[in-house]
Each structure stands twice: as structure tokens, then as C-alpha cells.
């Protein structure tokens, strides 16, 4: 059975070039970059080069790049490291649609006595910026807003938000885990103070992340330990993964054009064909301000887990915002925050593409998904009710 992998917002394939670049650093060049001898020193040089590649990809200075273990650590470090630097400030602003790496940290801080403002979104997934303006107060320690949403692909107006936040002199963090590699990022022209990225979302392996910290930003280390990363993150450098991430960022920069042309065209093709072939299908979120690789569609009157398992049976790997897939009983907090009706929220499917996807793969999905939805609708009691209400039999 062939595998059609269209779940790249969950994780991506390690690029062959990335793996190749990493391999010598497991067995041959295993020195500690901090060592005084030549054996460690030569590794330090390669780590520096990787840092330069990441910096180049983000339009940052290499000294502003801190390697971490994952996106979640970067998010945790940015929030907790900032709060630690401003102990007198006890207010945070975030959104209702963040990844749990932000959302659950804020919930935790709420329990610890911090005041948390969560900005809501409208039906299209757009943020209420007036509410943001009103919410910033003297006590605000940090504003953290994701760059792009993992479920819908919605891109938030991060620079506009940055203008508002920085005009008040408040630190500004963004979780750019889903944005990196899909849309251009340039810290030199940005208002962002801190930005998180994750290696495994851009064809590096799992277990490596980055926190960009703009020069002059107050920050206390979250991982307390040695002098590594200029004292901003203790722990011996994960050398092979850092080398891999450097290579992945170099490739991501090269592929950015393709992401926004060929991959975007594939996504649009898939979306248009599914809307055309399957009745009662809707796209979740604003279709304009969206990552080029992501589409979240809802099929009314059927449930997401059932769709995913039938797709999986054909080798197609996607994901869903339905309740049943997560083990929780309520559909995705993102779709609920957007007010997607229950008829649709339970039947949402996310396809997220990468440069490794082909038109043949899209055709395979377009061929097999309509009968799957039809089969489930034939089993669903609500589909018949709906048809009756429409006067069809």
C-alpha cells in the first residue's frame, strides 16, 4: 500500500540532505563544543555555522539564536523567562487558539495567580485587535500570539500586533512553529522580540527547537545549567541535531518559493476539488490569510475519526479536530473558539502538505475521499434527516 502523507503540520519527513549532514556528528565528530582541545573546537565551528544558517533563515543575528529541545521548550522558556525578568508584572495577553505549549502554560500561570487575557477570534478565525489595544496595561509582562494556527493555517497580522504591543513597550513573543518555512520571516524588519520554531516541522528531526531572542530583550534562562547558549539555556549542545537544523533552515530558505507556488497550487487544487465533489463541505477559517500548505475542511453530519481511519486504511495520513481523535470529548478548542457549528466541527479534517507531495497524491485523495464521506453519511442518522429537510429523498 502506498503512503500519502499529508499531515505535515504534525511532523515532517527528515530531508535526506539533513540526515546526511547529521550522521558524522554521532560517531566521528562527537566532541563537546565547550572542550579546549582541537577535537571539541572543530565541532564548535560547525555549531557556529549552523547557528549562522538559522539566523540567516530568520533574518536575525547569530547571537540572537538559542537552541532548545523543541518548540514546546521554546514557548515555555519565552513565557517563564520573561516573567522571571519582570517579577512585578503579573498580567499576560494571549489568544484562545494557541497551541497547548502556550495555552496550558497560561492556564498553569492563571492558577498561580497571574491574570491572563485571552483574545477571541471571529468566525473566520481573525483576532480582535481592538480588544488587544484595550487589554494592555501597566502590569502586562508579555503578549504572546501565534504566527499561524496549526489547525486552520490562519496567519495572524503579527507585525500589526507587534506595532500595537511595542508602542506600549511590552515584550512580544510569537510561536512561529507552523509559520517557519512556509512564509517569509525577517527579524530585521520585525517588531517581534522572541520567536519559537521547531525542527521537526521543517524537515529536521524531532528533538530540536530554536528560541530567537532579540538583542536587548530581558530574559532569564528557563533551563538553568552551564554557560551554553551564552547562559540563556544550560545543557550540552545537541550537536547532530543542531547541524541538522542548520541544514534544514538552509533548505527551507531555498524551498520557500516552491512552498508558495507549487505546494500552494496543490493545496488549492485539493481544496477546490473536494468542495466541488462533496456536498455540504466547508473550509474552516479565512481562505486568504492562510499558510500555503494547510487546509481544514469540515464534512457535515459525519465524524472525523471515522473519516481518518477510512483514509488511513487507504494509506492516506491526515488529522482531525474532532473530539474522538484526541481522547477528549469536545472538538478542537480552535474550531470552538471560531464558533464552527457542531454539525461541522466534529467532521473536520486537516490536510497539510509539504514540498514532497505530488499532484498524483492529490488525485488519489480526490478519488477516494468522496466515497468515504458518502459511506459514512449513509450510516449517519443526521444525513437522511438533512436530505428530508431539503425535500430530497
Amino acid at each position: 500500500m502506498k503512503t500519502v502523507y499529508v499531515d505535515n503540520n504534525a511532523t515532517t519527513k527528515v530531508a535526506p540532505e539533513v540526515l546526511e549532514a547529521m550522521l558524522p556528528y554521532f560517531s566521528e565528530y562527537y566532541g563537546n563544543p565547550s572542550s579546549m582541545h582541537f577535537f571539541g573546537g572543530q565541532v564548535q565551528k560547525r555549531v557556529d555555522e549552523a547557528r549562522e544558517k538559522v539566523a540567516d533563515f530568520l533574518g536575525a543575528d547569530p547571537s540572537e539564536i538559542v537552541f532548545t529541545s523543541c518548540g514546546t521548550e521554546s514557548d515555555n522558556a519565552s513565557i517563564l523567562g520573561t516573567l522571571d525578568s519582570y517579577p512585578e508584572k503579573r498580567h499576560l495577553i494571549t489568544t484562545r487558539v494557541e497551541h497547548p505549549a502556550i495555552g496550558n502554560v497560561c492556564t498553569y500561570l492563571g492558577r498561580k495567580g497571574y491574570r491572563i487575557t485571552e483574545l477571541s477570534v471571529d468566525r473566520e478565525g481573525r483576532l480582535d485587535l481592538d480588544k488587544l489595544r484595550e487589554s494592555i496595561i501597566e502590569e502586562t509582562a508579555l503578549v504572546t500570539v501565534m504566527y499561524a494556527n496549526n489547525e486552520t493555517g490562519m496567519i495572524f497580522p503579527i507585525e500589526e500586533i507587534g506595532e500595537i504591543v511595542k508602542a506600549k513597550g511590552i515584550p512580544f513573543h510569537t510561536d512561529a512553529v507552523q509559520a517557519a518555512g512556509k512564509i517569509p520571516l525577517n527579524m530585521k524588519k520585525s517588531k517581534i522580540d522572541m520567536l519559537s520554531i521547531s525542527g521537526h516541522k521543517l524537515h529536521a528531526p524531532k528533538g530540536i527547537g530554536v528560541l530567537y531572542i532579540r538583542k536587548g530583550t530581558r530574559f532569564s534562562p528557563y533551563m538553568i545549567g552551564g554557560h551554553q547558549e551564552k547562559g540563556r539555556r544550560g545543557g550540552t549542545e545537541n550537536v547532530p541535531y543542531i547541524i541538522g537544523l542548520g541544514k534544514a533552515c538552509e533548505l527551507a530558505k531555498k524551498h520557500l518559493g516552491e512552498e508558495n507556488t507549487r505546494v500552494k497550487a496543490l493545496r488549492d487544487y485539493l481544496e477546490v476539488k473536494l468542495l466541488e465533489k462533496i456536498p455540504n463541505t466547508l473550509v474552516n477559517g479565512d481562505r486568504v490569510n492562510r499558510l500555503p500548505n494547510t487546509v481544514s475542511v469540515s464534512f457535515e453530519y459525519v465524524e472525523g475519526e471515522s473519516i481518518l481511519l477510512l483514509l488511513s486504511d487507504l494509506g492516506i495520513c491526515a488529522s482531525s479536530g474532532s473530539a474522538c481523535t484526541s481522547g477528549s470529548l469536545e472538538p478542537s478548542h480552535v474550531l470552538r473558539a471560531m464558533g464552527v457549528p457542531f454539525t461541522a466541527a466534529h467532521g473536520s479534517i486537516r490536510f497539510s502538505l509539504s514540498v514532497y507531495n505530488t499532484k498524483e497524491e492529490m488525485d488519489y485523495i480526490i478519488e477516494h475521499l468522496p466515497p468515504i464521506i458518502q459511506k459514512l453519511r449513509d450510516i449517519s442518522p443526521f444525513w437522511k434527516d438533512y436530505l428530508k429537510s431539503q425535500g430530497k429523498r
Binding site: 475519526e305 471515522s306 474532532s322 442518522p381
Partner: protein, 280 residues
């Protein structure tokens, strides 16, 4: 990914008895679009009042569809009195088990059956007669009590897995806790718990008891003869040990293990303990 049995997968991929019977003898519907799953069950009886035809329509995940399909297969050919006795556990067992988080799918099957039989008899299961405990999923005290009793549930989390109650905002957790406590007290009165020495040990209890028994009853005796023993691992009822000191090359070590160590462990821990030696 959920760990579904082959039987669940089969009933999901090839559901039996899908559809809706025109002018049925009984019809029951539970769940809703908002809740994420729903089941509509219809049946017809034959001249002997047996379930001749049963059909279902289900909106929900794989285990909801499989549970519905299993239910129809189980009750076909039964009288209503026989069908009434089918529990959610029977549905889960028929499928070779369900992940605990998905047990509510089997409960939905049982509830739909109940509703359909009540409908046939002209009774009405009126939710208003009972107190709605979980507002998010509209679960009544009656449903929670039934699930706790039939499935021997002990925690709020389990009640959520079986009935969905408490799976939303969480405000009803204290009420659910109170129900569990009340029902379990009633259950204890009805059937006093077996004496503690006969109770089944949890893994942690078993490991502790084995360690205590070895330390108190066995190792001192071995040491007196210049030997010793290390506990290496415990796999179910199999206790893996390594003999040390003089014991490790003693010709009667096999005898020591079986006749002495195993006997003692069977005496103090459990009748089915087996001791095996691990050699370095």
C-alpha cells in the same frame, strides 16, 4: 492512534445491519450532533415476539459505529426480555474489548436499545424525571448510577469514559464524586467485599509483598548458609531471581528455588507464583 481490536475494525469497516426500518415496532435514539455521537435503533418483531430485524444508523467515531453494529448482531433473534439483559459490557466483550476512553460508545448502544424497547412498550424514558448532572453532555444521575453499578466504576475519570459526564467544563465533578460515593456504599451493603487476604493484588502491592517476603522469610535463611538472592524482575506471576554467593554454584539450587523460595512466596503472596532463575 487508538488500539482497536480486529473485531472493532471489522465492524467499523463492514458494519452489519445499517439502515432504518420503515414503520418499526420500536425505535430509540440517543446522543446528538453536539455531543459528537448519536445512534438511532429500529426493530421489528416476528410472530414469536423475537427480534426479527434490527437496524441502526450512527453518527460517530469508529468505536461508536462498531458498537452499534455489534449490538444489532447480539440482540437479533432474542426476545425483548432477553435483549433487555444485554449490558454495555456485553457489547464491549463481543468486540474483544474497547479502549477505556471509548466505553461510552458501548453505553450508547445499551441506552439506544433501552429507549427502543420502551418505545415499543409505549413507555417514555423522560430525561426530565431525573436530574441532569453534566450540563455539557446532558447526562442524568440515572445514567451515571447505572454505569457505576454495571461497570464497577470508581473514579470521575472512569465515569467520563463510560458516560461522557464531566468531559466538558468539569463543573459537575463534585456531583459525580458524590454519586460514586453513594452508589459504592450501597453496593458494598448489598455485597460485602471479599476478605482482604483473598483480594487481588495490584502490581505495586504484589512487588512490595514479594520484596518484603524475600527480605523477611527467605534471604536471611540463605545468608545463614553463605548464599544470597537478588530479585531481578517480576513478569505477571513469574518471579525472576539470581542466586548469589554459595547458592550460585550449589548443586541443589534448583531444589532451593522450587521447594523453598517458591513455596514461601506462594504462602505469603499468591498461589500461582512461579520462580525462575536468571543466569548471568
Amino acid at each position: 492512534m487508538w488500539d482497536y481490536t480486529e473485531k472493532v475494525k471489522d465492524h467499523f469497516l463492514n458494519p452489519r445491519n445499517v439502515g432504518e426500518i420503515e414503520s418499526p415496532d420500536g425505535a430509540g435514539e440517543v446522543g446528538s450532533l453536539a455531543c459528537g455521537d448519536a445512534l438511532r435503533l429500529t426493530f421489528k418483531l416476528d410472530e414469536n415476539k423475537r427480534l426479527k430485524d434490527v437496524k441502526f444508523k450512527t453518527f460517530g467515531c469508529a468505536s461508536a459505529i462498531a458498537s452499534s453494529s455489534a449490538l444489532t448482531e447480539i440482540i437479533k433473534g432474542k426476545t425483548l426480555e432477553e435483549a433487555e439483559k444485554v449490558t454495555n459490557q456485553d457489547i464491549a466483550n463481543y468486540l474483544g474489548g474497547l479502549p477505556e476512553e471509548k466505553m461510552h460508545c458501548s453505553v450508547m448502544g445499551r441506552e439506544a436499545l433501552e429507549a427502543a424497547i420502551a418505545n415499543y412498550r409505549g413507555q417514555k424514558v423522560v430525561k426530565e424525571d431525573f436530574e441532569i448532572i453534566c450540563k455539557c453532555f446532558g447526562v442524568t444521575d440515572r445514567e451515571i448510577i447505572k454505569a457505576v453499578r454495571e461497570n464497577d466504576l470508581k473514579t470521575v475519570e472512569q465515569v467520563t469514559y463510560y458516560t461522557k459526564a464531566g468531559g466538558g467544563c468539569g463543573q459537575c465533578h463534585p456531583k459525580i464524586e458524590a454519586i460514586i460515593e453513594k452508589v459504592r456504599k450501597e453496593m458494598e451493603k448489598e455485597a460485602p467485599p471479599p476478605k482482604p487476604e483473598k483480594r487481588k493484588l495490584t502490581n505495586i502491592q504484589k512487588i512490595k509483598l514479594i520484596e518484603e517476603t524475600l527480605g523477611r522469610e527467605i534471604i536471611p535463611a540463605l545468608k545463614a548458609d553463605g548464599g544470597d538472592l537478588d530479585l531481578i524482575d517480576i513478569e505477571g506471576n513469574k518471579v525472576l531471581v539470581a542466586l548469589r554467593g554459595k547458592c550460585s554454584f550449589c548443586p541443589s539450587s534448583e531444589f532451593t528455588l522450587k521447594q523453598y523460595v517458591e513455596t514461601k512466596l506462594r504462602e505469603f503472596v499468591s498461589d500461582d507464583i512461579e520462580v525462575e532463575e536468571v543466569r548471568p
